[in-house]
Amino acid sequence: MSGQEVVFALLSVVMLGSGILVVTTRNLVHAALWLVVSFGALAGGYLVLTAEFVAWVQVLIYVGAVIVLLLFGIMLTRAPIGESADLDSGNRWAAASVATATAAVLVTVMVMGFRDERMPLQAGSGSADALGASVFRTWVLPFEVLSVLLLASLVGAIVLSRSDIGARPEAGARADEEDGV
């Protein structure tokens, strides 16, 4: 085991442990905070894998934005701050068996397929320089399409959460009534 493998193994223990706590804890706010730990450990894993830029984007967007958005959602739905008993549905044993089966299948495939493979880690292969050149040379069209998608989804979120728009304009409702009669 090289040093990188040791560090990555420790980070993945943190990642998986906090991930399991996210899906098993009885406190909604703690679930969001454990998600921070899990994403942070994953960002550390990206750093070990020499994907620096992805690691910082992970920290900025996931830990910075998505978790804050989730905490807003938790508070706006007036969730209980303390422990609540009914966060798990009744089919948790079926869920556990499905998840175990998924893990068994995926781990078996990965171990059988890539048991002897080693990956070359060279510093700088995932730097902002290399990735920026790649995004704005090769992948510039998907990048622009993605910006339009992000704009459309944010407009959609604003429209969904505006409360001053009625359910239907009156003309449409009258037309429906006439159709019904």
């Binding site: 493998e5 990555f8 193994a9 993945s12 998986l16 399991i20 996210v22 899906v23 909604l28 679930a31 998600l35 899990s38 994953l42 894993g45 990206y46 894998l49 994907a51 992805v54 967007i61 958005l69 989730l70 959602g73 706006l76 739905t77 969730a79 009914d86 966060l87 798990d88 549905s89 089919n91 948790r92 079926a94 869920a95 556990a96 998840a99 998924t102 893990a103 995926l106 781990v107 990965m110 171990v111 890539f114 048991r115 493979e117 990956m119 070359p120 880690l121 995932g126 990735l131 790649s134 995004v135 992948w139 993605l146 998608l149 989804s153 944010l154 979120a157 604003i158 969904l160 959460s161």
Partner: protein, 134 residues
């Protein structure tokens, strides 16, 4: 570094997310579990990008795109969850059954949401009336 380490970790993280999606009842917790699954996929993408030594950095760029799509998804998802909360005053996924078909045995489910139970309300009063008539 062995390729097995990140891929196995990604597989386990994905199955943790699967468990969360299936076992949780609160809609926001389900969204968090979906985020866990997306992160497992991202870890796989980065790993294989580095393994292939891709000169175009396709895996890492696709990871960035996935992160942006996840941000868009969580924004829309939370908007929908808040809308459901505004209409129904709860976000328990088990009780949001307005789109479920009316199965013969499923009518007596006490965890049905309010709209469906309001629509079913005339039925029991009718039977009471029939019982009271003789």
């Amino acid at each position: 570094m062995h390729l097995a380490y990140p891929t196995i970790v990604a597989a386990l993280l994905f199955s943790v997310g699967v468990y969360g999606v299936l076992a949780r009842r609160n809609a926001i917790l389900v969204l968090m579990s979906v985020e866990l699954m997306l992160n497992a996929v991202n870890l796989n993408l980065v790993t294989f990008d580095i393994w292939f030594r891709d000169r175009l950095h396709g895996g890492q760029v696709l990871t960035l795109f996935t992160i942006v799509i996840a941000a868009a998804e969580i924004g829309l998802g939370l908007a929908i969850v808040l809308l459901v909360f505004r209409n129904r005053q709860m976000i328990d996924i088990d009780r949001l059954r307005a789109l479920a078909e009316d199965t013969p045995g499923g009518g007596e489910d006490p965890r049905d949401d309010t709209k469906a139970s309001a629509a079913r309300e005339p039925e029991p009063t009718g039977t009471q009336h029939e019982e009271a008539a003789p």
